[in-house]
Amino acid sequence: MTTVTETSLLRFATAGSVDDGKSTLVGRLLHDSKSVLADQLEAVAHASRNRGQEAPDLALLTDGLRAEREQGITIDVAYRYFATPRRRFILADTPGHVQYTRNMVTGASTAQLAIVLVDARNGVVEQTRRHAAVAALLRVPHLVLAVNKMDLAGYAEPAFAAIADEFTAYAASLGIPEVTAIPISALAGDNVVEASAHMDWYAGPTVLEHLEGVEVAAAPDAEAARFPVQYVIRPQTPAHRDYRGYAGQIASGILAVGDEVTVLPSGRTSTIVGIDALGEAVEEAWAPQSVTVRLADDLDISRGDLIAPIRTAPVPTQDVTATVCHVADKPLRVGDRVLLKHTTRTVKAIVKDIPSRLTLDDLSHHPDPGELTANDIGEVTLRTAEPLALDPYSHSRRTGSFLLIDPTDGTTLTAGMAGTAFAASLTR
């Protein structure tokens, strides 16, 4: 009898320009892992026939919108789901056309792994360097280089090795410690799901085997605990008259009953007396669990506050330096008044300065650009109306990230990653 199988979850993103075969790789992963069902295949076959194509075009599996089918383009990020007996996968499928940076930033922001595709005939090109730089910028923990179209490169090891070496060296210069390089042919199916019969010189895993096996769970015991308060739970019913719990998702680290904590930005201190993990009282809980925390003292705590261990608490600041990616069509300019959303807290902020814009192709800096436009990456300094308990993004993707929002119409303007050291590290 089937029982509930508890497998782990892997979120990953793909990056590649249109001609690198990204859609084919995604279609192949879905198809060969038997995640495409008969009625979906039938719909694709039907649509392909209507276009005069003989074979089903697997790229149609991922182009879901009318405009995409009509114009043959991909709009924005789509999320795909598939599973093997070992793991469940969420794929952020990011289009490779001109809006690449903001889309890849969006996909990479939640990814634990990124696959960068390269055409074996072209090797490492500008676009490849951009993809690697975005993965490094967003601190995606694992990077895979898929050298595609090996069938068109004679399945030759030297072609693969040269690209893998060049890419690995470039990644190392970005601070990415480890790259898994896999020679594939997405079209022919070599080393995507099934091992290739054409490349016996390659002894490593297929793409799917690597996705199934890579260890991605964080090590919360190595991180400082951070607990942004989302919502205060006060039932005020006869059974729970004195219950006052702080609900939230642990952003990093471990919380335990007995921990002495401080509440930021007020700086008041207390002790954790109870942790409720969705209905069950526990002694400790860790990221990314959603829990409710109770404290010994009746402090004035509300949404937007941060609970952290006294000894490792961040120092709240109103001056924020960050590396940002501008995602809106409207530019971001020095002097703009914006809203800044950090964890559960939204505050007013002013753009004080934009010291530089970064060109991802060669990582060169352009000083004082005055504004950032869509897809630009740059350094920004901000002054906030209230203090924020920010961590450097290099320490925490969760408490080091923020959004800038247009206060007039609510548009998401900019994706921010806090910390000066971080901006500098990308540019050496």
Binding site: T106, T237, A239, S290, R303, R398, T412
Partner: protein, 300 residues
């Protein structure tokens, strides 16, 4: 093995609870769309966990097509009473009766739900509307955001969606606009069933194999009822069936099945070569972009 690794169900649960609490913290008047189908039942279960031991700080909204399965309505009323929830009903039948909507020639009422839904949203000034939609259901839904802004006409413009960065959801909206929120975005059909099994969640009986009178239309087994089936040329027979989705009786098909327990259902859908909607929803087959078109008009 990393002792801190979360199972996929724990990770999905934690993420959905986070979404519920974000909405509770940032919106004035949220509401949960509740159809009595498995996705909305799982959604409500997650909401109950998110705010325990307090009650869920949202009311429920049922868009009643007038062609509901009786078992589902009974389930709905039982759940509302048991958890002390408030239920609003938006009735398609009322809209037809007073002339604001006209019955379609094919008798299908699913597309007629949009107007009563938008009317209820406007009348109650709901600013956040939870839906049980999942991105694995349909390729237009694969593009849907967890927080999805709708304009003052309830419309969805896929080109104007906000990028979804980290777990930072932007719920800002102008008066008259609202946000659709999909806490189950990252669940698949199989995840939903595994979660139902793990949490021992009760479902309406029609989700499990039972003998029932059905007739064939357009390759599906439909249940006879006041909605207008069967026609003269359609023959009713008794079959062992169950439902994979629950919606309007006129367009929700049953599948042949002997899966009478949650474990048997999981085994069945694991082996199935058809998607949930492909197997059982006539309304998605109306055109290649049927779902996208309805979403643009304000459907959820």
């Amino acid at each position: 093995m990393n002792p801190y690794a979360l199972s996929h169900l724990d990770a999905l649960e934690s993420e959905a609870v986070h979404v519920f609490r974000e909405v509770a913290g940032e919106f004035e008047r949220p509401v949960i769309l509740f159809s009595g189908g498995k996705d909305s039942i799982v959604m409500l279960h997650l909401a109950l966990k998110a705010f325990a031991p307090a009650t869920v700080p949202f009311s429920l909204l049922h868009v009643d097509t007038g062609h509901n399965f009786p078992e589902v309505l009974a389930y709905r009323d039982r759940v509302v009473a048991e958890h002390g929830l408030r239920l609003e009903v938006a009735s398609v039948q009322e809209f037809i009766d007073d002339g604001r909507l006209r019955e379609r020639p094919d008798g299908t009422r699913n597309p007629l739900q949009t107007l009563p839904l938008l009317d209820a949203i406007e009348r109650h000034r709901f600013d956040a509307v939870f839906g049980g939609g999942r991105r694995d259901e349909e390729k237009a839904r694969a593009k849907e955001r967890v927080f999805s802004l709708r304009d003052e006409f309830g419309g969805w413009d896929p080109r104007r969606q906000r990028p979804e960065l980290w777990q930072l959801y932007n719920g800002r909206h102008a008066p008259g606009e609202h946000v659709r929120v999909f806490p189950l975005s990252n669940f698949t059909e199989l995840d939903v069933w595994q979660y139902i099994a793990r949490e021992k969640i009760e479902l309406p009986s029609i989700y499990y194999a039972h003998e029932r009178e059905v007739f064939a239309r357009a390759g599906m087994w439909l249940a006879p009822g006041e909605w207008g089936g069967p026609r003269e040329d359609e023959r009713v027979e008794r079959r062992l069936v169950r439902y994979r989705t629950v919606g309007d009786m006129s367009c929700t098909g049953a599948v042949d099945s002997d899966a009478a327990t949650v474990e048997a259902v999981i085994a069945e859908i694991t082996a199935s070569r058809l998607t949930e909607r492909g197997a059982t929803r006539a309304d998605d087959k109306l055109s290649e972009a049927a779902m996208e078109d309805r979403k643009r008009e304000g459907y959820f």
